[in-house]
């Protein structure tokens, strides 16, 4: 098998290139003749009384993408963190190239040529890509570092794998897609043979997914083994060869991608058939204008003017979908309309009254609700229990005299948890303990407590499993039917096309196109997002 050298060197192990022809071999032969790059046996891990991984077996062979599928909380991330040494398993063994190894820390994992792109990136934000990658170097600590040498090696890798990213600026100044590329460069730099991608596409706009898949393709062509985690079945079917499905910490099935299909996988993951279709909801006509923006301009958190003059009317009872590549002003538009960011020019009107310079309280009082992209920090206070989080963005809590009536609040929160099927141990649990899907359901329940005039949803189903995502979408449609205007930011074309009454494309802080979803195509919207003209030519 592959020779592994202890020092990190720039050349990739090409010995394995002979085995790429394995792709032409029968799969059965492949399984019999080769040692897996990585083999897990009986991995078990509990957090308190909760069993996150229950005797999991997994084998990854060189040159193949092995997808791990499962709903939120099925134990995928835990398993990956065990492989990468972030968590210690309670029992079970890990073998690399047939040899049992002990992985007690990420340092051990790196030494055993395992690399991981975490779901939440593991980058030191104030440092450049070069410095982030230098951290991985395993040479003497006190010798002056040779930044130039590191830089040259990174540049070589960039050329080899066509990864174009700014490696000198602090990574916090890079977009999410770029940060992910820095993470990939980290893996390549350590020469990892087993590469774990934990939900890499959850944060990417569709165009960038393609370039990610291309990189993954190049890596497997070199004989590396890739573990790919995703909720998106199309992707999984497209790029993986083997699929392992996890449910509640157990492997329910391992199968070949060639014998899998969407419906079958959903059934395996969820344990039942679910309807993936959003019922048609476009028959009604939109009502009065509830919120409008005129010449709206705003700066992002780096103080760069990213919203450059937007005129927009949102009517009662319509869903306005916003498409755009990350960083083209959508977030600032949503935040300005939600009242959490002040406009630097232009005006915002609610029911015809100007509120541009008012505080978020005014927006809340005028029934504007906001489901932010960052559920854990902006949508909730992670260390507060659910019932206290229930009061966020609520300026008229139930009172007894001058005191908040917590008894009532807890009742309200408990009812919401019940009717929105939030899986939790109760209203006293800290929101930090909730999985993404459950937290989002809770935030949705809070936002729709009273039907708002305008509901602003930023990437509401990002990172959610199928069932939770469908639930959130249904709630958005319900709100619309109840007469609420909805502004929907999304990176998921399926979602935008099935939910929106109108689709608006933003590019460089301006609206560059408006289409009705039934009259356009994903391709056209994609071109607009990249700044191309509607006739298909890029400028």
């Amino acid at each position: 098998m592959m020779q592994r050298s202890d020092c990190i060197n720039g050349t990739l192990p090409f010995e394995c290139s002979m085995e790429i022809c394995g792709s032409e071999m029968e799969d059965k032969d492949r399984m019999q003749n080769r040692t897996p790059l990585l083999e897990l046996k009986g991995i078990t891990k509990s957090f308190g009384s909760f069993v996150a991984n229950d005797h999991i077996d997994l084998r990854v062979y060189p040159g193949e993408v092995h997808a791990v599928l499962g709903e939120n909380g099925a134990g995928k991330s835990t398993l990956m963190n065990i492989i990468y040494g972030m968590y210690k398993p309670d029992s079970g063994t890990i073998s690399i190239n047939g040899e049992k190894v002990r992985i007690r820390s990420p340092k051990d994992a790196i030494r055993h040529k395992i690399g991981m792109v975490h779901q939440h990136f593991m980058l030191v934000e104030v440092l450049s890509a070069i410095d982030n990658i230098s951290l991985l170097e395993d040479d003497r600590l006190f010798v002056p570092r040779d930044r130039k040498k590191v830089k040259e090696r990174i540049e070589k890798l960039q050329q080899q794998y066509h990864i174009d990213v700014d490696i000198e600026s602090p990574v916090e100044q890079l977009g999410i897609g770029m940060q992910q590329k820095v993470e990939i460069l980290k893996l390549l730099y350590t020469g990892a043979d087993v590469l774990i991608f934990d939900e890499p596409t959850a944060v990417l706009p569709p165009q960038e997914c393609d370039s990610l898949f291309e990189i993954i393709g190049n890596l497997t062509a070199e004989g590396k083994g890739v573990i790919f985690i995703s909720h998106k079945l199309d992707e999984v079917l497209r790029i993986s060869r083997r699929i392992t499905v996890l449910t509640r910490g157990r492997v329910v099935k391992e199968l070949d991608a060639s014998e899998a299909d969407r419906e079958g996988l959903v059934r395996l993951m969820v344990g039942e058939d679910i309807d993936m279709q959003i019922p048609d909801h476009r028959e009604g006509t939109a009502g009065e204008v509830v919120v409008s923006a005129r010449g709206l301009r705003a700066r992002d958190k780096r103080k760069v003017m990213t919203l450059n003059g937007v005129d927009l009317d949102i009517h009662a009872g319509e869903i306005v979908g916003i498409a755009g590549v990350d960083g083209n002003g959508q977030t600032e538009l949503a935040e300005t309309l939600a009242g959490v960011r002040h406009a630097k020019g232009g005006k915002v009107f609610i029911d015809g009254t100007e509120v541009s310079t008012y505080s978020p309280r005014t927006f809340v009082r005028n029934h504007i609700q906001y489901v932010p992209a960052d559920r854990n920090n902006i949508g909730s206070v992670p260390d507060f229990p659910l019932y206290e989080n229930w009061l966020l963005r609520n300026y008229d809590p139930p009172r007894r005299g001058p005191i908040i009536d917590y008894h009532k609040v807890r009742e309200e929160a408990a009812e919401a948890i019940e009717s929105y099927d939030v899986r939790t141990r109760g209203v006293d649990e800290r929101t930090a303990q909730l999985s993404g899907g459950n937290l989002q359901k809770f935030i949705m329940a809070r936002s729709l407590r009273e039907t708002p005039k305008l509901l602003i949803c930023e990437y509401p189903t990002r990172g959610l499993d199928i069932r939770a995502a469908m639930f959130i979408r249904e709630k958005i449609v319900e709100a619309k039917k109840a007469g609420c205007g909805v502004l929907l930011l999304s990176g998921d074309f399926d979602e935008l096309f099935s939910l929106s009454d109108r689709l608006i494309v933003m590019y460089k802080g301006k609206i560059v196109g408006e289409r009705r979803p039934e009259e356009t195509t994903v391709r056209e919207i994609g071109m607009l997002m990249m700044g191309g003209a509607a006739d298909g030519k890029a400028d």
Binding site: H118, V124, S134
Partner: protein
């Protein structure tokens, strides 16, 4: 007013200012490193005080200033180890532990000093460090007298600041320190061992605070007096912020405070209508004002003060 502007007044003032800034330089260089690893060593004051006494005891009984100063450094480090254990291993609140250390230090030093030296009117004394004239440089008029006719710890303090900056900016260890203070989880995922790095932060800071304490008792006074650190450890915390976690800038900030302190002593000695407490308060007033004036737009290490829990989900 003219008497203030003569060379005879100003040169000794600035020379004393340089001396007074040394404990601040040492302490804040230590604190910069600790905070860069993500731990706030509020116990700096206590470590300095304990070291002032221990180094004095060491020097008094061994007759060697060098040994005394070493004892001071080690005692500071040992005291810091307590904080490190509570904050890094037991994940306790760093401010609370720091305040406890400071309160403990006051009682402990008072007790120990009386237990050893008793209550007497004639104070126990040791020789103080001699000043070393740097050849050539000390002959420069004014500058030479102010900067290059000082004791060895003054030079060491400045050299340590430069050396520390070098380690932070140019070595991989410095990078590990910065990563640990900014994002311990990311650091760990890149193979950095977070706990040892934070332990190092505490211990290095404790050692530097210890040398600073030793400088007070063995370096310039030659005796130990109750609570002789007198809040210098806290000023170090302010210096660290003003210097924006840069050890060399902290030398400059420390010089400012040191000079105010020297001035304050002289104003007191000259006698004035104002009560002496006003002058004693002067350095702290300057600290507050300067934080107000220059304390904006700063980027503290992101994980500063936050205990790191490896398996937290």
């Amino acid at each position: 007013m003219n008497e203030f502007l003569t060379a005879a007044f100003l040169i000794p003032l600035f020379a004393a200012g340089v001396r007074m800034s040394v404990p601040l330089i040492l302490g804040s260089v230590g604190e910069v490193v600790a905070e860069k690893t993500g731990v706030m060593n509020i116990g700096l004051e206590g470590q300095m005080l304990i070291a002032a006494l221990i180094s004095f005891i060491g020097a008094y009984f061994t007759g060697s200033l060098a040994l005394g100063i070493l004892c001071g450094g080690l005692s500071g480090m040992l005291t810091a180890l307590i904080s490190a254990f509570w904050c890094v291993n037991r994940k306790q609140d760093q401010s609370v532990v720091g305040i406890m250390v400071n309160l403990f230090a006051i009682g402990f030093t008072n007790f120990l000093y009386r237990a050893i030296f008793g209550v007497r009117t004639d104070r126990a004394k040791v020789e103080i460090l001699e000043s070393i004239k740097i050849p050539v440089l000390s002959d420069i008029p004014v500058i030479g007298e102010i900067f290059f006719d000082q004791n060895i710890l003054v030079y060491i303090a400045v050299l340590m600041a430069v050396f520390t900056l070098y380690v932070l900016k140019r070595t991989r260890f410095g990078l590990q320190i910065e990563a640990t203070g900014e994002n311990p989880k990311a650091a760990r995922s890149a193979g950095v061992r977070v706990k040892p790095v934070r332990y190092f932060g505490y211990m290095f800071c404790g050692f530097m605070a210890g040398i600073a304490g030793a400088f007070l008792s063995c370096g310039i006074v030659g005796a130990y007096t109750e609570n002789m650190s007198a809040g210098r450890g806290f000023i170090c915390l302010a210096v660290t912020i003003l210097a924006r976690w840069n050890p060399v800038l902290s030398v400059l900030a420390a010089l400012l405070f040191g000079t105010v302190q020297a001035l304050q002593l002289r104003l007191q000695a000259m006698g004035s209508e104002l009560p002496y407490q006003f002058f004693v308060a002067l350095p702290y007033i300057v600290t507050l004002l300067s934080l107000m004036l220059f304390g904006w737009n700063i980027h503290a290490p992101k994980a500063l003060g936050k205990p790191y829990n490896e398996e937290q989900r």
